[in-house]
């Protein structure tokens, strides 16, 4: 059953065609990877799904619902979680508050009850804290840093906190933009394990952009290959790996790199 359908999406920035007629479906409960060389348009696709970019043509369907007229903040409430290629944490807040912010759409406290705090708002905060501790902080093993300001954390940990914040959104689909970029082997392995656990334990569908081929081949159910804004092919990791155009696109890039290096 498909949870997300991207239909004939095109996008351009001032004459530059970033995406041309891209279509694909994401099935419920799978890990769907998007790969492709730098500048292929991977992040742009996530931005269209999140509602940050509006496509020139084409539509995004989420659980069968056309999202064309649904604003970005409402999409979060529908169940779209997101992590970013360039970490987008809130540096003025602690790890805990960053994670709590992810739960924004699930909370009710308004301006007045927030100012008053005692009673309803307090109760809601305590319940949220309890839930986050149990479902997210324990799960991602970040107990020891929860009080720290995020700016003091190492890069790998910041990525993990971003994942924690996305989980607090209680998403149905989690869009992850290069979750292991810049991580060492051990951190990458941890992250891959978390992603698999999220899929299996929380039944969250994951759309993943990555350059780390080993991880893609290990954990994803299906892969879409983008090149210059076009969908080259999609299929299981094995199928994609054998596809001649993919080999050409990737080997072409590799060859060019090796030739440059001489």
């Amino acid at each position: 059953m498909k949870i997300l359908s991207i239909e004939n999406i095109s996008l351009s920035f001032g004459g530059l065609n970033v995406l041309s007629d891209v279509s694909f479906d994401v099935n419920k409960g799978e890990i769907f990877a998007i790969i492709g060389p730098n500048g292929a348009g991977k992040t742009s696709i996530l931005n269209i799904i999140s509602g940050f970019y509006g496509p020139e043509k084409g539509k995004v369907f989420f659980n069968g619902k056309d999202l064309s007229h649904i604003h970005a903040d409402k999409r979060a409430a529908l169940g779209m979680g997101r992590t970013f290629q360039n970490i987008a944490l809130y540096h003025g807040m602690s790890v805990l508050d960053n994670i709590k912010l992810g739960a924004h759409t699930h909370l009710k406290t308004g301006l007045m009850s927030g100012l008053w705090y005692w009673g309803k708002a307090h109760k809601e905060e305590m319940e949220l804290r309890k839930k986050i501790e149990k479902d997210i902080i324990d799960f991602l093993e970040i107990e020891s840093i929860r009080k720290q300001p995020v700016s003091s954390l190492a890069y790998g940990l910041q990525k993990r906190v971003e994942l924690a914040r996305a989980l607090a959104m209680r998403p149905k689909v989690l869009l992850m933009d290069e979750p292991v970029a810049g991580m060492n082997a051990e951190e990458t392995e941890d992250m891959a394990r978390f992603i698999l656990d999220i899929k299996e334990e929380y039944n969250i569908t994951i759309v993943l952009i990555e350059h780390d081929m080993k991880m893609i081949m290990d954990i994803s159910d299906r892969v879409l290959v983008l090149n210059f804004g076009r969908a080259l092919t999609h299929g299981t990791p094995k199928e994609v790996q054998k596809h001649p155009e993919v080999i050409a696109a990737y080997l072409g890039q590799k060859k060019a790199e090796t030739m440059e290096k001489g």
Binding site: A76, R82, A88, L89, G92, L101, L107, L111, A121, M126
Partner: protein
Amino acid sequence: MHIGDFKETYSSDQAVFINATSRFWLGVLFAVLFLFPFVAGDYLLFMANLAGITIIGAVGLNILTGFTGLISLGHAAFIGVGGYTAAILSTRFDLPFLLCLPLSGLMAAFFGIIVGGPSLRLKGLYLCIATLAAQLILEFVFVHWESLTGGIRGMNISPPQIFGYVLDNDFKFYFVTLVMVILCVTFARNLFRTRVGRAFIAIRDRDISAELMGINLLQYKTYAFALSSFMAGISGCLWVNFLKTVTPEHFPLMESVRYLAMVIVGGMGSILGSILGAIFMTIVPELISTFLGFLVNIFPTAMSFLFPLQQVIFGLLIVIFLVFEPHGLAEIWRRIKNYFHLWPFEH
């Protein structure tokens, strides 16, 4: 798994005033604030009222600028709206002080939303210019809508009453100011323990990711404008009732700039910073002029030279502070506190 009495632990973990030490010092602070007017002279009482009223305005501006990242050059005008509302309601409609107070806040909040609304799509410098325009327009209205505001000469009002009790001196007024400061500060602190306050900070730090996390930017920026100008309005109402007069001179552009300076010197995005900044900006110019007055006594001939020096020294002090502690007085205070850690309950 360490699930036990979660509720208890997190509740105390997240309390505003966490441990016995802070509670002790808070008690001391309240006692001092309460006893202060009984020992303070007229001059100190006057200054304390002024500082308190300024604190409320500064907390308001910090919510908008420090916490939500929306720079405003119109804060003094919103304080003015509150002040004029209070004066008009009490002179023309004979409304009691306790009713004027929230109404002044609401009127200022209303203007804040009107000004903020269209400017919410603007950011940074553009927003700054839009609020500057609001400041100038409101100032113009204060001066020229004479039938309503009394023009340049302004309006005089009679001393406020609370249930028939006349607040006709600074001593009595002090307690009103104190209660209002405590309320504003407490409510502001409360807010930043909830989703609304977190949303403000998220908008300041990264508005795009805030939106993708489900925050309606327009709604929360409007909240920030409304709340900020509500507090400005309260501050304006107190100001007018304290001085028993209102004129356009009280709310010039320079006053808006002074409030911004207060928030920056005190600490952006810190409630405590707003308090310290307001006190600093109220008290220090007085200290400087006292000091210069003292010098003039010794060197009478230097008078013409020393007098203008007042502004220069004050400006220099601000610059020095910002160079050495860009995070403001609140950060300096935090360091002092860490130094004395848990005294007097250390183990």
